[in-house]
Structure formats: structure tokens, C-alpha cells
Amino acid sequence: MKRIDRLSQWMGKTESFKKLSTLPLNFVLNFVLIVPFAIMIFLSFTRWEPLSGYDWWHASIAGVPRFMEAFGDARLLWALIRTTIFVAAVVPVEFLLGLGIALLFLGDFRGKKAFTSVVMYPMMMPWVVVGLGFYLMFQYYGPVNLLLLKPVFGEGGMIDWFTNTVLAFFAVMIADIWQWTPLMFLIIYAGLAAVPSRLIEAAQVLGASSARIVRTVRLPLIKPLLVVALIIRGLEAFKVFDIVYIMTRGGPGVNSTEVVSLYVYNLSIVYHNTSYACAVSLLIMVAIALVTRLAIRPLEAKRE
């Protein structure tokens, strides 16, 4: 009885309750995130791979050469450049399209709810399904050629998308833009809709045009939201893997559309070069963290 009393007394303390209630989270974090992450850090300092013939916990520390290797890895550099181009191309397009659609949806029109659902569908689809769909659409005898290009330009105007290094990457970008524009739309629309109507009305009374209201009232008010949307989407686009893997596998030819995630996949899964893959992953993670930090600086400065 005394024990139960002591337990209920201990539970009664807020601090104890907090400790107890965070225990499941700690458990999950430790096993799902921290322990594998610690293993990854350990492996990045070794020269272990599954083909080594011994278990990873027997691997001896090789020091920092694995990280140094990454700095001289031309394939990694090209993968980073390609990924940066990908992010720089798709995120602004998704942003502008999302903004445009959000502005269209600000007004009332018939069937608005139904159209909103339709606009959201691409985002709800699994990446794999989107990748596969666009992979089939851009085949030589796929709908893009047969329904769009052939009727206009004839058979000679049909394009072999996946045998051209530039066009293949372009096809991947289109797939990404199609899928993720709705996310931009959703965030921007939510922000724009939340702008107090009295400010809009005041601007209208002062004779501001709709375009000017958007430029000088609506957008500045939701600027922090826009920055967050760009950061989230930028980070996600940097991690692109599924659609590239399904649509091009990094080809055509030698890694012409290989992005960073696909390179790390190839290193660890196809080449079994686990420890180097870990080192590259860590470097990329640090780089992304630095870039993100720089990106959110203006927001923090404003808050201060």
C-alpha cells in the first residue's frame, strides 16, 4: 500500500509526470533515430562494407579519409550540381504556379470545393505512382508523343525523351512540378485567405488595383509563410529520389540524371560501399543544415 502511495505521490509531481510521459518518445527516438544515426557516424569513420567478411561492429576506425575522399569525388560533385539545378528549377516554378492558383482560388466561383480537391490530388499520390505514371507518359510511344507532339509535328516530331540526357532530366522535373505545386498552393492559399479583409478593403478604398493589393498588401503580410514554404519544398526537392529512380535510374548513359540521394543509394545498395555512403550522407546533412540555417536567418532577424 505504501509503495502505491509513493508511486501516486511521485506521479503527482509535474516533473515526474513529464519524465514518464516523454519516456515512449525517448524510446522511439533512441531506437529509430539516435542509435542508427550513431551507427552511421561510426561507420563513416571505417572502411566497412557487407562484403568485408566481418560484422560492422568489428570494423576498425580508419579516421577521416572517407570524408576526404568525398571532397575529391567528381561523381558526388556532379550529383550535387544536378540536385542544385533540380531544386533551383522546380521550386520557383512550383512556387509561382502555386501562387497563381492560390490567387485564382481567392475569389468565389462555382464548384470551388470540388476544384480544390482536384488540385490537391497529385500531392496525395505516392511518389512511386507519380514516377511510374510520368515514366510511361514520356515513353516514345507514350501519350506525350502520341497525343501532344504527333498531331502537331507529325511522326518526325516525336521525341525520345529518355535517350536524351537533358530531356530526361526535364521529364523528371515536370513530374516533380506536377506533384508538388499543390503543396505550394495549399500553403500560400491558407496564408492569403488569412489576411484580414479590413486591410484589403482599406486598400481598395484608397484606389489600389488588385495587382497592387497582392504586391503591396497580401504578399508582404504572408512573407514569413512564403519563406517557410520555400524552405520546406527546397529541402524536400533536395532529397528527391523516387521519381528519378523510377523514371531514369540516373540515366540515360552514365549518371546523367543522378541526384545526390540516388548516388548515396547506389553507393550503399548497389556497390555495397556502406561506410563511404555514410560519410557522404553525413557531409550532405551538414551542408543542408548550414543552408537551412542561412535561409531562416532573415525570419529570426525580423522576430528580434
Partner: protein, 550 residues
């Protein structure tokens, strides 16, 4: 009145979180050390890899179990395991395989359960590369969640060296699946049986398949007298099944330029040979390269020999074929070839034997009864001042069955493999439409022949034995998936004109050297040398004549 909010300080949080981590780590370690069976398996991993190199293993003393047939012995063995308590009644073995082999295995699970009282469950993956991913994950994690796996023979070196594939030599001796010249009527056809299942002198796998590439052609078009006349006037020789890759080019060009229409109205192309970034090297390129007398590595120092004249010529042949191939050949996955050929959109192609099963199936094919089969085309090479026609057919990614070292019931897993690949059960399993193909001698003879003639056509059966005799294995050394990935991307680059054939081969050679160095040049050389005798004797003779080996 509410109590003032108590905040957890950073120190307290770190204490709690740190304590949890340490507690979990200690608990995990104790739990891990406290599992006797798993510890045994885990701690022997590195020793297992070493065992591979031991060639003087004493022969097993356990006598073979009674049973008239391979499948009977497998069933008797499984029953005995249950009766002895080594395996509990109702035990389940988990099979990891790809969707393409569903039809070859799953219909037989109920029968196995009825006969042995044990069950088989499947983990089905969609894509072939995923199997290697899961297999290597299991090799690292050693969970024992998977008992038996279907893998490409290409990955054999990787899964064995990673400690995943169990050495099955003792099971072979105990249960006798009838491999080798002692069983001429039932054996898995040689040299297939040896090169798909053996590694450094030991058996690590069960053969599930015979994937030797065969040339498949539209018999009705090649035998058409109108086309024959036009072809002769254009190329100066008779239209026939091509014997060389140069002839393949001519025939492909001829039919592409005829602008024939397939039943669905789309264009018919002269050829469809794998040239995509996933398969180009394993399949078409390797066949051309070896037929030209090329050797992948030097048997002296393991130097990459891919950028020799043979390598550049083989790549050039593929690049030259591109304008006359169906566009899917450069970018789509393997199944597209099956689809396009069966739709009547290609005249010549080279693929696995299962293509004929597809082309003969009215539910999937518009060209039923119109296909012919032949040995893969070759190349004219000069040996000792004399020109010879060298033909060699590769056996890319032949499916084999392995048993996991971390399985709870490895012997039961092996017995299932023996049962489902036995002459009697295997005849039913392999003759179904699926990705597994005919691999036992007896299936070419009555009473099985009729079944297989229906599945493949009588002409295919005549040709296929010859194809196997001329066959050579995949690259099956450690790191083969990496070597072949780099090669296949470069071949594809040459096909899409992103690189010249010479640059593609030079770059491949440059990529291969660091792989060999990383994995150990001496060990790789030893593994490569053990593969050389698996190539057909006439290929080895050409290598000797060219001075590539002594």
C-alpha cells in the same frame, strides 16, 4: 489555484535522455548476448566466409535418404526433420522472391504442406534489383526473417562473401538432388548446374532456371519469299536467320526500312536488343563481346580488358543497331521486350527462354506460332591465320535459390528447394508461364517433353540444348553488381550517342580498377581465375590464341 508550471531543466532532460540511451543500450546488449542460437550464428559469420576457401572438406558421412525420386527424398527428409523434433510441426519457411516467379512457386505450397506438414510463406518483391537490396540488408542485420531467397546468379559472389548464403554441399550429399554426370537422365543440364550453383568448389545454391539467351525471330517474315527477294537484291546474300552480328544489323535495317505495321497499327522494327541503362551490359553487349573473343579481366593481374578492340567493336555493333531497334530498347525495362515482341513490333530479338512462352501464349501474344529460335549470333574471328565463326550465348542473371545462414530451419528450406526443382514437381512448375525456364535433361525427353513442347515449341527445345552447350555464366565474382552497373551505363551512353564506343570502354576500364583495388586484387583475381574454365572451350581457345591466357 493552479500550481506554478514546473519546467524540466536542460540538465535534467539530458540526464533522463542519457539514462534512457545507456539503459537501452545495456539492455539491448544483454538481450543480444542472451540469445544463444542467434549468437552462435552471428559470431560464426566471419568464419563462414573463411570456410569457403577450404577445398579439402571431408565428404559427409550421412547416407542419402531413401526415395525413388528427388522430390520423394525431399519430402522424406522434411518429414524426418519434423519427426525428430529438429523442426516443429507446422513450421513455416519464408521465401523472398519476385512477382515474376509467383506462378512458378505459389501454386505448389499447399501440396508441400499436405505432404510435409510444414508451410511456405512468401515475401514478394516487384523489381529484381530489390532482391539484392533485401538480401544484403539481411546479410547485415542477420534477422532470420527470411529463410530462402531467389537471387540472380550474378549476385552469388556478393551474397556468399557477405555471409548470407549457406554452404549447401552437405545437404546435396545427404539428399541427392541428382546433379552431375552420374545422373545423365535427370541432371540439371551441364555446364549450367556447376556454374550457377558452385563457388570456389562448394555448392551454395540450387538451380531454379536456365536463362541462356536465344535468338528469337519472326519465322513468318524471314521465310517470306517476297522479302527474301528484296533482301537479296539489297544486301547480296540470302535472307536467313543471322549467324553474325553484322547480319543481325542487315536484317534489322531491312525490316525497319520496310515500314511494316504491327496488328495494332504501330511500326514494326527490325530488332529489339537490350540497350537500356539497366540491362545493356549483362545481356546483348556481353554476348557480342565474348563472341568477338573478348575477356573481361586479365587472368594474370586482374587488369580490366574491357577497352580492348573487342570491347570497342562490341559497343560499336550496339550503337550501329540503335536506328533499327524499337525505341523502348534504350530506356524501358526487360519486360518491354517481351511485350513489344509479342505485339509483333520486332522481327529479331534476343532474350531469355521465357520469351517463347509469352510469344506462344494467346492471352499475351499476337504472334503465336510465328516465332523461331536459334543460337545467339556470333562473330568471325581469326585464330592461327584461319577465320572461324565463334558463337557464345550468355546466361544472364540465371535465377538460383539460396538458403540463408540465419534461417531457423535451413535444412527445411533446402528441402523445399530440392522438392520444387525436382524432375517431377519442377516439370509442372517450370512449364507454367513465369520467369523460370527449363533446366533438367529429363524435361527434354518423354514423358515430360510433350508438356515442354507445348510451353516452348518443339523447335525451341531442339535449339536450346545447343544454346546451353555454348553458354557462359554471368560475372559472378565479388562486386559484380558494381562492375556491371558501371559497364551497362557506359554501353547505354554509347548507344544514346553521349559517348563514343572507345570513350565508353575507356571510362569503364577506369571505373573498374578502383573496384578491384577496393575489394582486393588478389582475391578478385583468384575468383576470376576460378570462373575462366566455365567459359566454353572454343572461347578459351580463342583467348589462348590471342595471348590473353596461356
Amino acid at each position: 489555484m493552479s500550481k506554478p508550471e514546473e519546467k524540466i531543466s536542460r540538465r535534467t532532460y539530458l540526464q533522463v535522455a542519457g539514462g534512457t540511451i545507456v539503459g537501452l543500450a545495456v539492455g539491448g546488449a544483454l538481450g543480444y548476448l542472451g540469445k544463444p542460437t542467434e549468437v552462435t550464428t552471428l559470431t560464426t559469420t566471419s568464419t563462414l566466409t573463411e570456410t569457403v576457401t577450404v577445398t579439402g572438406t571431408p565428404p559427409p558421412t550421412t547416407p542419402a535418404l531413401p526415395g525413388a525420386e528427388v522430390s520423394d527424398r525431399a519430402v522424406a527428409g522434411a518429414k524426418q526433420l519434423v519427426a525428430s523434433g529438429a523442426v516443429p510441426a507446422g513450421a513455416t519457411i519464408k521465401l523472398l522472391h519476385v512477382a515474376g516467379s509467383k506462378n512458378n512457386f505459389e501454386p505448389f505450397f499447399a501440396d508441400w504442406e499436405a505432404k510435409t506438414g510444414t508451410k511456405v510463406e512468401v515475401v514478394t518483391l516487384g523489381g529484381e534489383p530489390d532482391v539484392l537490396t533485401k538480401a544484403m540488408a539481411e546479410a547485415t542485420a542477420k534477422t532470420g526473417a527470411i529463410d530462402i531467397i531467389t537471387i540472380f546468379s550474378t549476385w552469388k559472389g556478393d551474397v556468399i562473401e557477405a555471409g548470407l548464403a549457406k554452404d549447401l554441399t552437405d545437404y546435396y550429399n545427404k539428399y541427392n538432388p541428382e546433379y552431375g554426370p552420374k545422373y545423365p537422365d535427370t541432371t540439371v543440364i551441364e555446364p549450367l548446374a556447376d556454374y550457377t550453383t558452385m563457388y570456389k568448389g562448394r555448392r551454395y545454391a540450387v538451380d531454379l532456371d536456365a536463362d541462356v539467351f536465344t535468338l528469337t525471330y519472326r519465322k513468318d517474315l524471314l521465310e517470306n519469299p517476297d522479302y527474301a527477294g528484296q533482301f537479296k537484291s539489297k544486301f547480296g546474300y540470302d535472307l536467313k536467320v543471322p549467324d553474325t552480328w553484322e547480319e543481325v544489323k542487315d536484317v534489322s535495317k531491312f525490316f525497319t526500312e520496310l515500314n511494316l505495321k504491327a496488328p495494332d497499327g504501330e511500326k514494326v522494327y527490325g530488332g529489339y536488343f537490350y540497350a537500356d541503362p539497366g540491362w545493356a551490359a549483362f545481356t546483348t553487349w556481353l554476348c557480342i563481346f565474348v563472341s568477338k573473343g573478348g575477356i573481361l579481366f586479365s587472368p594474370t593481374d586482374m587488369k580490366a580488358m574491357i577497352n580492348t578492340q573487342e570491347g570497342i567493336e562490341a559497343t560499336q555493333v550496339m550503337a550501329d543497331l540503335v536506328p533499327y531497334m524499337h525505341p523502348d530498347a534504350l530506356s524501358m525495362d526487360w519486360a518491354s521486350l517481351y511485350k513489344r515482341y509479342s505485339e509483333g513490333k520486332a522481327v529479331l530479338t534476343m532474350a531469355w527462354p521465357s520469351l517463347i512462352k509469352w510469344a506462344q501464349d494467346p492471352s499475351t501474344s499476337a504472334v503465336v506460332g510465328k516465332s523461331g529460335s536459334a543460337l545467339a549470333p556470333g562473330s568471325k574471328v581469326t585464330v592461327g591465320g584461319k577465320e572461324i565463326l565463334l558463337k557464345a550465348a550468355n546466361n544472364p542473371v540465371n535465377w538460383i535459390g539460396i538458403v540463408s545462414n540465419y534461417s531457423k530451419y535451413p535444412e527445411l528450406g533446402y528441402l523445399f528447394w530440392q522438392w520444387v526443382t525436382s524432375p517431377v514437381v519442377g516439370a509442372e512448375s517450370v512449364s507454367r508461364v513465369g520467369i523460370m525456364d527449363i533446366f533438367r535433361e529429363c524435361w527434354f525427353m518423354p514423358p515430360y517433353r510433350e508438356t515442354f513442347e507445348k510451353a516452348y515449341t518443339p523447335q525451341f527445345l531442339e535449339v536450346f540444348a545447343d544454346c546451353i552447350a555454348h553458354s557462359f555464366p554471368d560475372l559472378m565474382i565479388k562486386g559484380s553488381s558494381e562492375y556491371l552497373d558501371k559497364l551497362t551505363k557506359n554501353v547505354n551512353a554509347a548507344c544514346v550517342k553521349a559517348k563514343t564506343p572507345k570513350a565508353a570502354m575507356d571510362d569503364t576500364a577506369k571505373d573498374w580498377e578502383p573496384i578491384t583495388d577496393r575489394l582486393g586484387r588478389d582475391a578478385q583475381l583468384e575468383a576470376w581465375r576460378s570462373m575462366i574454365p566455365l567459359y566454353p572451350p572454343d572461347v578459351q581457345d580463342v583467348w589462348k590464341a590471342k595471348g590473353y591466357m596461356s
